[in-house]
Structures are given as structure tokens and as C-alpha cells.
Symmetry: C2
Subunit: 362 residues, 2 copies
């Protein structure tokens, strides 16, 4: 194996199925007559914007992307010359030139930012807050804005849900009513309210542009179940570094948190909390190997975990075998259940050391 091969052989693998991301996009897009964009901030929720954004752009109707900050937008522009790119985090005065030069569309969040973009021909979005009270124009600033003179090419009006993953929560309708009021004052701009969960609130909420994030990748924003047609688009595999035979009473890992109740066979895998997915998950967590679930035992280390492969069903398991840490058998749901973290945090916490493998049929 050459050095170049070694650099692509970190032995722990993040597989991202671009076909599944495309299918998830199609599922979301089919929920509505509205257009459908893609949120690819935070490196496409930890899975790799560089591969995912072009797959969506070239293989679906998706031509519009949302990122968090200008750095992400500039990186995306270098990959997709013709995509529409919006930046959520708002406009800093000293970034104006770069927005213009790179044809990136800022989303303006308060009156100061209006000043920085006034009299530009290039489009901008406006974010009106409807209750989450993070970014976006407050009611008071919105009123001032509508009563003020301005010269802006506004092509998008948006707001953000507080808890769209709880379909019957009264806040959804309250936010909808408030969004309708601002949206009607800017009838020439497209309107966008729906994140992933919002899409499933129904047609009244769809307006002109959907902007799902987590469901593109097959994560669940907190709905009772993942909707039909939304499939987890990634898996993580680790490699067995070593297999040990333990006598009853011998313990495994830092602080001896697990002790072998009988003669046991333990495999050591090359992923740990530095690889992200296992943080806070060293109780009752499991992996999948050779057709069976195996239990993680002992405390998660920085670079390793241990699994119990004592049972006869694991007799064929050997060093170098790959083990599913997260995938179709060890789902995000299962990992989240054993963690204090949700799907969003588990995904954006995926570490840097994986060999990333992207699948796209020709």
C-alpha cells in the first residue's frame, strides 16, 4: 500500500449515499408545489458540503442553497458557479464587497444590515422574526422597515419556526399568521418558512420555497417517526484493531466501568469520542457485526471502543473486520436514545478522521 493509499485508509469510514440524499430531496420536494432548496450549512450537517451540494444541483431540481456564514458560501461558490446561495447569519459591513463579487445573496436580519446593502442592484433576502428571537427583524423594526424609504432588490422573505417538529403546537399557527402579514407587504419576493419538519405541517405553510436540512440526510428533527421516503443517508464503520480473551473478573477501559462476568471475548475498534458519534453514548450502546448486534462495553476512549463478542454467533469475527457503528442496523434513533444528544448534534459532531466515501450511481 502506498503512502497515498494509506492517507485514504484511515480504517474508520464515513459512507455517504448521495443517491439516498437525492431520493430524500425528491420526497421532500414532492410534498408541495413550492420549490425546494437545500440547507448545507455546517459542512452539510457534518457529511460534506463539497460532494452533497453538487449531487443535488446536478441530479435534482435544486438550484438554491442556504449556508450559515460567508466562509461557507465562498466555499460553495467555488464548487457551484451557477447556484443561488443565501447566507443566514446576516451581513457584516466589511463583507459587502465579497458578497457582490461572488454573487452570494445575504439575508438581512436588522436595520443596520439594510444600510449596508441599500442601493445595491443585487438581490437580498430579509429575515423577519416570528417568535424564535434569534436572528431577523423584530416586529418593531419590521414596522419601521415597511414605513421607511429603501432601495432594495428583495427576492426572498423568510422566517424560522420555534418548534415545527410538534405539529399541533399552537406556536406554529401563530408564527404562520405573523409570517403571512409580513409576506403580503413584499409580494414580489419569494416567501420561505419551512424547514424539514415544517414541510409536514401542510400546504398552508409551504409558500414559495422549502428549505429542508436534516431530512435531506435522513435525520429526524424530532417527529414521532421519520416520514416515509426519508432514509438515513450515511453510515459509519470502524475496524477491529485487536481481539482479546478475558477471564471472568477482568475489566475493560478507563475506570474499569465494565467487568467480564465470565470468560469473554472483546474486540477493540478504532473509533472513539474524538470521532464524534459516540460522545455521551457509552451506556447501553451497540454496534452491528456479521449479522448481529454486539454491545459496547466500558468507557469510550478518545480513539477506541470495546465490544463484547463472547457469544458463539460472533465466532467468525476476526481482526480487520469492519463493524457498523451507525447505519441501517444501528440507526440514528438508536444512538440518540442512548445519548443526551439528538440527531442534529450527533451528525454535526461526526469527527474529522474518517475516510469519507461517497456513493453515486453513474
Amino acid at each position: 500500500m502506498t503512502v497515498a493509499d494509506v492517507l485514504n485508509d484511515a480504517s474508520a469510514e464515513l459512507h455517504v449515499d448521495l443517491e439516498t440524499i437525492i431520493e430524500n430531496y425528491e420526497t421532500l420536494n414532492a410534498q408541495s408545489n413550492a420549490a425546494c432548496a437545500a440547507v448545507v450549512k455546517a459542512d452539510a450537517y457534518g457529511l460534506g458540503m463539497e460532494k452533497i451540494a453538487p449531487a443535488l444541483f446536478h441530479h435534482t431540481e435544486c438550484d438554491t442553497f442556504f449556508v450559515a456564514n460567508l466562509v461557507e458560501a465562498v466555499k460553495l461558490r467555488s464548487i457551484l458557479k451557477d447556484a443561488k446561495i443565501y447566507v443566514f447569519n446576516g451581513l457584516f459591513e466589511d463583507h459587502v464587497d465579497t458578497y457582490l463579487e461572488q454573487d452570494i445573496t445575504p439575508i438581512l436580519n436588522d436595520p443596520n444590515q439594510i444600510q449596508f446593502w441599500n442601493n445595491k442592484k443585487q438581490p437580498c433576502g430579509i429575515h423577519f422574526d416570528t417568535g424564535i428571537n434569534r436572528l431577523g427583524f423584530s416586529d418593531k423594526h419590521a414596522e419601521e422597515f415597511f414605513n421607511s424609504k429603501r432601495n432594495l432588490n428583495i427576492d426572498l422573505v423568510l422566517s424560522h419556526f420555534i418548534q415545527s417538529e410538534i405539529p399541533n403546537h399552537p406556536s406554529n399557527e401563530i408564527q404562520l399568521d405573523q409570517f403571512i402579514r409580513v409576506r403580503y407587504q413584499l409580494p414580489n419576493a419569494k416567501a420561505s418558512l419551512c424547514n424539514s419538519a415544517g414541510i409536514y405541517l401542510g400546504e398552508d405553510y409551504h409558500f414559495d420555497l422549502l428549505r429542508p436540512g436534516i431530512m435531506l440526510y435522513g435525520g429526524n428533527p424530532g417527529l414521532p417517526k421519520r416520514p416515509d421516503g426519508i432514509t438515513q443517508a450515511f453510515e459509519i464503520k470502524a475496524k477491529i484493531l485487536q481481539i482479546r480473551e478475558l477471564e471472568a473478573g477482568m475489566s475493560v477501559g478507563y475506570n474499569s466501568l465494565w467487568t467480564a462476568p465470565e470468560k469473554s471475548r472483546i474486540a477493540i475498534l478504532n473509533v472513539g469520542y474524538a470521532d464524534g458519534t459516540l460522545k455521551t453514548s457509552d451506556r447501553n450502546s451497540s454496534v452491528y457485526i456479521d449479522g448481529h448486534i454486539a454491545k459496547v462495553v466500558g468507557k469510550t476512549s478518545m480513539d477506541m471502543i470495546a465490544i463484547d463478542i463472547t457469544d458463539a454467533k460472533f465466532d467468525k469475527v476476526t481482526v480487520n473486520n469492519f463493524v457498523e457503528i451507525l447505519g441501517s442496523n444501528i440507526t440514528l434513533e438508536m444512538v440518540a436514545e442512548n445519548s443526551t444528544l439528538g440527531h442534529y448534534e450527533l451528525m454535526t459532531g461526526i469527527g474529522r478522521r474518517y475516510n469519507k466515501i461517497y456513493n453515486l450511481r453513474a
Copy 2:
């Protein structure tokens, strides 16, 4: 600001003080007559191996580094041509050529790995397990090893503590005794037992080579207090994106977890759980701005948090101000106390979006 400037202006900053890392190294090195190596796996615990390893190599006596896997080792070799580099995770057969070509020293963890390296002139390390039962030769394999014919140039014998951060735990002495027994059978190899906390167990434990990790960076492996001369070597700063005035009863963030008890002033910062340090920390956590502690309010978002700057002492705080998320005022200890995570996990969970700034006096 040019595009190149923007790419270095992610607006959230990770400052790493290389001088402090050098001072921490000197503190650790001064605890013993043994030589002192540096553990720089997992990208130097999240802070950047590429800058930290050369700073130690060129400005201290440190000439030996430990990493987790061969990918990390090859990257380190490309930066430091003359350093001694050991790989903890053991030897895969198809990696042997790269180890030889790149002059990287494998640590052999079981009998199979001995076969892959036998008859090589180049040195290797051997890891003997003394109770943690992760990697390394078991007692049985060690006995077979000592009774077998072999042709190896062993330059390091090592083992790993179960709980060196608990100085009076009986396991430390048990491991020490066991390590002494194997170590005496390979008298020509250097012996290494001590991680950061192990160094503070005293001279009996030091042998020939210390190999601290977390304390180099100023983290605490779990000792009751950080030892004198060990200082947190990094800080994280975020920028204020927007400031909002709230009426009493208005809530902030997803699921409205915080509601303003009175007329309030809230600042929105550009770090969130995708940036890693705040995971699981949205209860009772704090930041430091303009000489004062401010409380984080509401649920942590992927790219944002909100802080309460209602009090008159924050009157001068404005948009674009930088806020200390982690540093000399908001210490790792404080963050860990509000988190389910420890120093190790908080550090290796630091996200990818920061503008990384390294300080080293000329």
C-alpha cells in the same frame, strides 16, 4: 475585505497559545529526569497538530511524538522530518511498507503484529497490557512472546493506566508492579508508562519516557485541581451577530426554553453545537464580555447561541463585539461542570469552522 481575507474571517476564533503549550511541556518535563514526549493524536486534541508539534519540536527538548493511527503519523512526518513518531493503534500488515518508507515506528499490540515486523532492522515499540484491556499484549501473550524466538529491534516498552487521575487508587500500584516485571525482560528498550496524570504519581512511575497529552494543552485529566504551571492554552471567541430588545414574556430559541422575565436585551453569537464546545451545555452556561460574565439563554442552535446582556454593566456591548466562549474567564472546568462531557471530549469536539489563530513569540 478580499475573498482570501473572508476565508480567514469565519468570525468565530480558536486561539491557541503555543507559548503556553511550550510552558506546559516544560512544567511536565521538569517533574522527572525521564525524557518527555508529546501525544498529538486526534489533531493534537482538537487544537491543530500541524502547528503544535513543530512548536514543541523546535522550542523544547521534545523530539518524540505519539499519534493514534498511521494517517496521523504520515501527516506528522510531512511536517517534521526528524522527529521520532510512534503509532498507538497497532500494525496492519498492508501498512508495513509505509511505516518503513516513512520511518514511522509502530507499536505492536499482539502476536500477529510481531509476525508483520519480525526481521525488520527498524525499531518498534511493544505495548504490554497491565489491566485496561484495550490494546497491548495480554499476560498470556507476553509470556509466549518472551519464550519465543524473535528478531526485533525493540526501542520502547509501554503500558497504559486505567485511572492515574485517582492517585491513591490501588490499580496504579498493581499496574506499576506488572509493568516493572515486563520492563525488566527488555532492558535495552526505553520504558514508558506515564500519561499526564501518571506523571504526578511520582518518580517510581516515570521510567525513561513520559508521554503527556491533555496537560500539554492545559486540560485536566480529572485531578482535583490543575497542577501549578499547567495553564489552559486556548480560547474560543465568538462574534455578536445581532442584539435584540425583548418584552417580558417573549421567549428565545427552539422550544422556547427561556422566557424573558422582564424587558431584556439579548445578543446572538455565531457559535453553536456544530462548533462543538457547547454540546450538552445549554443549562447554566456562561460567556465573558466586556469584563463581565453573561448567561447563555435558550437552547443552543446549530450555528448560534443567545446571551442575556440586559444588565447595565453590558451597556457598551454592541454588534461585532467578540465574546469569550472558553478561555481564562470561562475555563474548561466551568464548561465541563455544566456539561455531561469532560475536558477531553470538550477539546476533541471543537468544531471545524473556527478561524484558527496561533500565537508564538519570535
